[in-house]
Amino acid sequence: MSSKELSATEPTGEEDWDLVIDGSSHSWRLGLRELAGFKDLLFLFVKRDFVTFYKQTVLGPLWFFIQPLLKVGIYYVIFARIAGVPTDGVPPILFYITGLTFWEYFASSWKKTSETFLENQHIFGKVYFPRLVVPLSVMISNAVKLGIQFLLFALFWLLYYFSGADISLKAEALLLPFYVLLIAVMGLGAGLIVTSLTTRYRDLKFLLDTLIQLLMYLSPILYPLELAEGIFRKLLLLNPMTSVLEAIKYSFLGTGVFDWRYLTYSCVFALILFVCGLLVFNRTERNFIDTV
């Protein structure tokens, strides 16, 4: 008891200290200012991701191109050749590459940030740094990968454009940074929520892959939104990725639906997801090492 009285009467206030950890406080402070001091670490994590990606591979960085090409090839065979799903008059390969390039950014951001706590528990259990550095570094490396894959998309676009395919570039293509940001915020927000929950309920780890796969088929990537009718169309529009993917296809291919109402819905959705994610993540990082 005596030490409590002592600390209460002590002249030094809380402001005098650099660091105050209070076990009983439940503040929602995010500590974003502290985060700025760790930008070197952020940069090094991004660098580590890239350097280790192709170490000990023969083809090296070429894998950034080969992986998506293989995927597109498979979808081409199954959806365009065997199932004969129409692609709005756009050559199927270009149609798929457009959707997949941006979908992959969303999916890999979501998946990788969802692994934050479980994959890094050995580091988090020993040293402290703002935990948000890890998911942010994932977002940055994924954005760089998106940049690389965008080159592939541009290459195919030019190829088809000059061979006379029926595609056109719209002024809305200038909104590209906005599209990317919107996708990033959604991916990060969803990832922060999932990683926080998996520290306690490991079940989500198994569900996530299926969920992402399901969402992909519920997005207009391998077929145009126009093809969907009735309840299925409503379901598609509930998916916040739909409006962005359609807007991107409209901007670059000239076929697709560009609608600000749908885009506003996605923005609100993304913002709510992101804020919730940030708050839950912040709560979890304090004690997760005890329960993980």
Partner: protein, 420 residues
């Protein structure tokens, strides 16, 4: 008076025991529902004293109302048995986890050497890992660049700096990790047992580095160790933790003495099955003592074996004969001690027998003891290899030179004289 660098006020840490399975969700829901109704956490602080040998509830208090403060420049040792709460305390201070209750306040940057080499990536080279590891520990790029050569030199990995770390030996990895950590310059440094890594040569360098840090007087250091000699020589004050509570706070010597007194090394013998004899008188326990109770024996230092015996037959000492047969780890007999060789007697029925050696003349190593107890000329209790004890290296001849272990087990007093 110097400013306080660190202040810990009534800090407790509660852990949940057992598996996290189906119970978690229902606990979470109960906790949530009582929070909504404005009641306290139903599971808060139901933990009891952290005794690992007792069965109790699902929650345990690893730390219980700990309060202390550290002044700037002070080197504070923290000692205690395994499970006393040392590591938990360090985890709280290094912000890996938060206290369940109480406050921690600090001035300046806190860095911990909880485990070295954290976050090293096997595919990256030594150079890349130094930068990555440094950044994880809170150094900026320019800081690392400035110290890079010193770090690599200290680690002794200069030749391999551009080789992936996965090709390093485990010793090299540890050395590189420690080197990075050793060049951190935080205001408050937390050190946990890092001196236990590496070979003897590296340990000497590590202790030297620690002495530089602690000697400079402007750095506050918290040092957790089982190495009492290191605590004694490096620290200016020490805390003793026991079962999650702050048990003693004082000078390193007094704290260490307190710790050694309480950690008796008594071994229970009463449950040994593999024994012969009629059992009239039996050995119940033995306490191996070095220079001080609780300390392990050392060559050249006082040594004692203290036996407790069950003498319910109330036999007198003249009716008893007690032999100790000491073998080395290969089973070679090195000594035979027996009460029958000496004249010691006691009035009444003894309950304890102590064999004491003024200067232990055994070299470092593990020794096995066979006990042989005779009552009134008949075998009463005979236990083959009843227990073992370890002798630590010691300066028997007072010259700082040691007899090679593979040459001899027994050290003999001798003199050398030259005649010209």
């Amino acid at each position: 008076m110097r400013r306080k660098a660190l202040e810990i006020v009534e800090v407790s840490k509660q852990y949940r025991l057992g598996e996290f399975g189906t119970g978690t969700l229902s606990h979470d829901l109960k906790r949530w529902s009582s929070k909504v109704r404005g009641k306290g956490d139903p599971y808060a602080m139901v933990g009891e004293e952290n005794r690992r040998d007792l069965k109790g509830g699902d929650y345990v208090l690893a730390l219980r109302d700990i309060s202390f403060s550290v002044e700037e420049g002070e080197v504070l040792g923290i000692i205690g048995k395994n499970g006393a709460g040392k590591s938990t305390l360090l985890k709280l201070l290094s912000r890996v986890t938060r206290p369940s209750k109480g406050k921690i306040r600090a001035r300046g940057r806190i860095a911990s050497l909880l485990e070295v080499g954290t976050g090293m990536h096997p595919e990256l080279t030594g150079r890349e890992n130094v930068y990555l590891n440094g950044a994880i520990l809170g150094m900026s790029q320019s800081e690392i660049r400035a110290k890079f050569d010193d770090i690599v030199e200290f680690s002794g990995c200069t030749r391999y700096v551009d080789t992936p770390v996965k090709r390093y030996s485990s010793g090299m990895k540890v050395r590189l990790g420690f080197a990075v950590a050793a060049f951190l310059e935080p205001e408050i440094l937390i050190v946990d047992e890092v001196l236990a890594v590496g070979d003897a040569e590296f340990q000497r360098r590590a202790i030297g580095k620690m002495k530089d840090v602690t000697g400079s007087g402007d750095r506050t250091v918290l040092f957790v160790s089982h190495n009492m000699a290191a605590v004694n020589s490096l620290c200016s004050r020490a805390l003793l933790l026991k079962n999650g509570m702050l048990h003693y706070d004082g000078s390193p010597e007094s704290t260490i003495n307190r710790y050694l007194e309480e950690s008796s090394s008594e071994k229970d013998m009463s449950k040994l099955r593999d024994r012969k004899g009629n059992g009239v008188v039996k050995v119940i326990a033995v306490d191996v003592q070095g220079e001080q109770p609780g300390q392990s024996p050392q060559s050249g230092q006082p040594f004692a074996l203290k036996f407790k015996i069950d003498n319910s037959a109330m036999l007198a000492s003249k009716d008893l004969r007690f032999d100790l047969r000491i073998d080395d780890y290969l089973g070679q007999r090195v000594a035979w001690l027996s009460t029958s060789l000496l004249d010691a007697r006691a009035d009444g029925a003894p309950g304890e027998i102590t064999f004491a050696v003024e200067r232990l003349n055994l070299t470092a190593g593990l020794y096995y003891v066979t006990l042989y107890l005779e009552a009134k000329g008949e075998v009463s209790d005979w236990i083959q290899n009843a227990f073992s004890f370890e002798v630590n290296e010691g300066d028997y001849y007072g010259t700082g030179r040691l007899a090679p272990m593979n040459q001899t087990n027994v050290l003999m007093d001798f003199k050398v004289a030259y005649h010209v």
